[in-house]
Symmetry: C3
Subunit: 182 residues, 3 copies
């Protein structure tokens, strides 16, 4: 069989009212994706107004792209770096003391390539406390990054990352343990 994208049907997928999504589209473009307007209090206020949970001491750098804030939970003392792209078609849950470095990409959308209708599949991402997602690294749909795992620069996590473990490559492989000495 062959792919028929004209048979694609995502009418079951209801991520929020059209009005809410349009409002967020413009707010995201102006206040988040833009190089300017880097006021953290304003950004956190906007995220919360649109349903995000945002903890204490969160830092959000410029040029961040967030799909749907109402599917976003950010814990305390967590950093979202420059040019991070949170493409959260469904829930992205980020814990406390997490560093999402610049250019990182959290991807919640997938397609069923075994179906001619190429069905949309969305899966949540969970990033537990103390995790470090390295610069330009990608976390794929459905992945849980367990406590204090590290995904190195430019790597692609296609499966869960074990706690206190360091991963590298595409697909990311475990290369060593993470020991926090003090």
């Amino acid at each position: 069989m062959i792919t028929k994208l004209d048979k694609f049907d995502n009418s079951w997928y209801k991520p929020g009212s059209f009005l809410k999504r349009m409002c967020w589209f413009f707010i995201n473009s102006i206040f988040f994706k833009s190089s300017f307007f880097s006021s953290n209090p304003l950004k956190k206020l906007l995220l919360k107004l649109f349903g995000a949970k945002v903890g204490e001491g969160v830092v959000i750098k410029p040029n961040v792209n967030i799909k749907y804030p109402w599917f976003l939970h950010i814990g305390n003392h967590t950093w979202i770096g420059e040019n991070v792209w949170i493409d959260n078609l469904t829930t992205v849950q980020i814990g406390n003391h997490v560093c999402i470095s610049q250019g990182a990409f959290l991807l919640c959308g997938n397609h069923d390539y075994t179906k001619s209708s190429f069905d949309l599949m969305t899966k949540p991402i969970i990033i537990e406390d103390g995790v470090w997602i390295g610069a330009k690294a990608t976390v794929c749909p459905g992945v849980t990054c367990f406590s204090h795992s590290v995904l190195s620069v430019g790597s692609v996590a296609t499966k869960n990352l074990d706690a206190f473990s360091i991963y590298q490559g595409n697909p990311a492989q475990k290369i060593k343990e993470r020991v926090i000495a003090d």
Copy 2:
């Protein structure tokens, strides 16, 4: 020998009149690369005015960067995702029912690193029907992605992709067959 970029000479490369390229540069910046102006009919009209072939049911998301539309052919029911970069210094031919996911990169330019003058080399890309180029994946110059091949998230296709086959990594390696069951 050593590289001498002051000896670089691409005067043989004539991608279109200066006026046409300047006009497109601004239209691309305003209507395509921008986060706003996501009207699909307008974008398709502009692409066609500048010589692109664009089929029925094509969807073009925001923040798309297209080098030269007169070197671009897009078939029917094909999707161009957010932040896709079509750096088509020469022809990029995309078939029907193709999904180019968000952040993907189609690269047509290369350099001859065995010459001190670092000569420009451009090679076309062909993406056949039903292909899926995953998010943040890259297709290199001269590559043909045969019918219904899949390039997974963040992977780099340096050679042709076999039909109905799934590739991963940098350089991308075949990891399994793609079976479309229904």
Copy 3:
């Protein structure tokens, strides 16, 4: 132990006065990161005003992101491609006849993931004469790319690159010698 980002202390890191950094932040956003304003003489003048060393015949394409120009040295006849990101928290020294292709990323910042305070670590990058950093490739903190080395498309250099050698993958591995025939 666990990560405590509220214990993070980078007060030792003094990259320049607040006023200078703010001025550059806006100039970078308007004249460099923007799709417009692609006048090379203006961009080189601005870089030099902010302390960069910029040689003869340097070409800087649109959408380039430079962190701190006073930590940037660019030799003669060197090209900085579209969407290049020079995240130079400390010195980035780029030689003569170097090609930094589109979308490449030079990363100088790291964190000590063995400390609960996740200390900032910055390390310089040196890119010697004749090097080619391929499109969407990444050079990690502290890496020296020796004379005429090549980092291929989308690859991640985590260690020094030998002279006249070609590297690929994440982490980048040496795949062959570079011979410049003429």
